[in-house]
Amino acid sequence: METWWRALTFTLGYNTSLVTIGSMLLGAAGGMIGSFVLLRKRSLVSDAISHATLPGLALAFILAGLWQGDGRWLPGLLLGAALSAAVGLWAVQTISARTRLGEDAAIGAVLSSFFAFGVVLITVIQSMQVTGQAGLTGYLVGATAGMLASEAQLIALCALGLLLAIFVLRRDFLLVCFDAEFARTQGVSTGRVDLLMLLLLMAVVVIGLKVTGLILIVALAIIPPVTARFWTDRPLRMVALAALLGAAAGYLGVTLSSVQEGLPTGPLVVLASFSLFMASFLFSPWRGVLATLLAYQRFRRRVHLRQGLLALAREEPIFDNLTLKLLRRQGYIRRDGVATLPGQAAARDAEHEERLWSLYRERHPDDALQQEHSGLTPIARVLSPDAIMALEAQLPPRPEGGR
C-alpha cells in the first residue's frame, strides 16, 4: 500500500516516475485517436493492427539477436512491429476494398494469420542461443518493471508527438467521422485523412506495446472513448475526456504494477480503465444505466398519473393498478376509488390543460411542431400568460355532461 502511494506521488524513483508519465501520455494519445476511430466505426481495426505487430517484433528480435547477441533493443523492436503492423493494415484495406469481404472478415483473417506467424517465430526464438528471451513475453502482456530510462523517455516523447499530431488534425478527423461526403465538398481528402487516422492509431499501438502488451493495447483505444461517451454529447469534449480517462488509466495501472515485482502492467491498466467504464456505465447522470432507469420510472409515473386524472375528469373507470396506487398516494382518490375534492380539482386542471394543448395544436400547427411538448409539459412552461389567455378565450364551451 505504501509503495503504491509513493508510486502515485511520483516518489518511487526517477525511472518509475518517467514510466508513469510516459504511460499517461500514451493513455491520453490512445484515448484521443481511439475516439475518432470509434466515431468512424473502425475500432476493430486496432485489434488487427496490434496482433499484426507480433511477427515484426519477433523478426526484429531475431535479427538484433543475430547481430549483437541480445534481442532486446527497443527502437529496433518498435520499428519491426510498426513495419509488420503496416503490412497487416495494408492487407486489411486491400482485402476489404478489392474483394466482396467486409472489413470485419478481413480483420479476422489478418489478425489470426499474423498472430499465428508471430507465435511460430517466438518458438523459433526459444530454440535459439540469444539472451533476453524473457524480455519478449513483456510485449505480450506488458511489463514496465525494469524498463530502462531511455526506453521510458522514447515512449514519452513519441506519445507527446502523437498527442500534438492528433490535436492538429482534430477538426479534419471530426468532419470525416461525422459526414464524409460533406468533408469532401470542403476539399478534405477523406482517403488521406482516414489513412492518417489509422497510421496514428498504429503508432499508438506500437509505442504502447512495451507498456500494455499487444493483446491488451486495443483496450487503450476503445474503453476510454466509450467511457467518455457516457458523459458528454459534444464531439471534441468527448475526445478530451477520453484523453483524460486514458491518462488516468495509465497512471493507475502503472503505479499499481510497481507495487510488487512481476505484476503485469497491461492487465492492470486495462482493469483500471474498465473500472472507470463501469462507474460511468452505472452512475453517469445522463446516459448511465441507473439514471436512465430512474428517468424511465419517473416518466412512467407521470403518464399514469396524468391518464388517471383525465379518466377521473371524464368519469371513466380506471382499471390499471399502478394508476390507482399513484392516485391514492397523491390523495386524489379514496380507497374505494371515489375522487376526493383535491382529486376533482386536479382532474379539472388536467383536462383544462389538455383542451388548451389540443386547441393550440389545432390553431397553430406550425408553432406546435416547433415546441417541445409530450402532452405532459405544463402549458405555462411553454407559452406566455398572454398566449394562454388568448387560447382560453377561444376555448369552445364544454360539451354536455362535462363539469
Partner: protein, 268 residues
Amino acid sequence: MNRAAWVSEEVAASPLAVQGLTVSYDHRPVVYSVDFVTPPGSMTAIVGPNGAGKSTLLKAAMGITRRLTGDVRVFGRPIEEMSRHIAYVPQRNSIDWDFPATVIDVVAMGLFRNLRWWQFTRRRHREQAMESLARVGMEAFAERQIGQLSGGQQQRVFLARALTQEAELTILDEPFAGVDAATEKAIVEVLKRLREEGRTLLCVHHDLATVRDYFDHVLLLNVRRIAAGPVEEVFTERNLQATYGGRLSTVQLTRLVGDPVAAAQRSE
C-alpha cells in the same frame, strides 16, 4: 483539346457548370455526358425518375463520387480550387444520428474552412452559427443532441450549416424528402430569401407538383440531359413524357403542366 476552351462568358459567370460529365458503376453509366450551366442567381430543380442519376450528378460534380469523364467549373475555374463557394445539404439518411454532436456543433462545422488548426471555436463563431440557426427557426434547439430532433428539424439544422458557409451556391439533395409540411414551407422561405440575396440554389427535387411554385429553372434528367431552362419553357408535357418515358399518366401530366387547351387560351 484544351479543356478550358469551353469556358465561355456564360460558364465563367456560373457558380456551377459541368461539361461531358459521365459517371458509371460497373460499366453502366448512371449519368451520361451531361452538359449543364447553372444560371447565376437562379433556383434550379433537378427533376427525373428514380435512378435517373440526379444525386449522382451533383455528387460527381462536387467530387464526392468519382467521375469517369467531364469537367466541372465554378465561376470558370476548376471546382477543386473553388470548394469554398459551394455549400452542400446532404440527404438525411447518410448521417449517424447517435453521433456525439449537438445542433450547434453541426452548424459550426460550416465554419470548417475559416478555422485553422491552432484556433478554437470562439464566441464569434458560435454567434455566427446561432444566426444561421435563427434563420431556420431552430435557435431554441442549439444544445440538443442531433438524434433527438424530428426529421424536419434535422433537415433545418443541415440547412443552417450550409447558411453558415455563406457560399455563392447551395446544393441540396432532396431537402423535402420525409419532412412535414410546416418544415417544407419554412425551408422554401429560407431558400427564396437566399435567392433574393443573389445566391444560387440547385436542388434535387422529386415532387413534380411543386416545381412550378418553388423553382424558376429546371433540369430534366434521365441519365442523359433531356432539357434545361426556365420552368415555363422547359417544364412541358412533351419534355416530361421524354424524361419519365411514358411513366406518367395523362391525368398526372394535365394536373402538372395544366390543360393544354386552357394553357393555349391563357397565352392568347
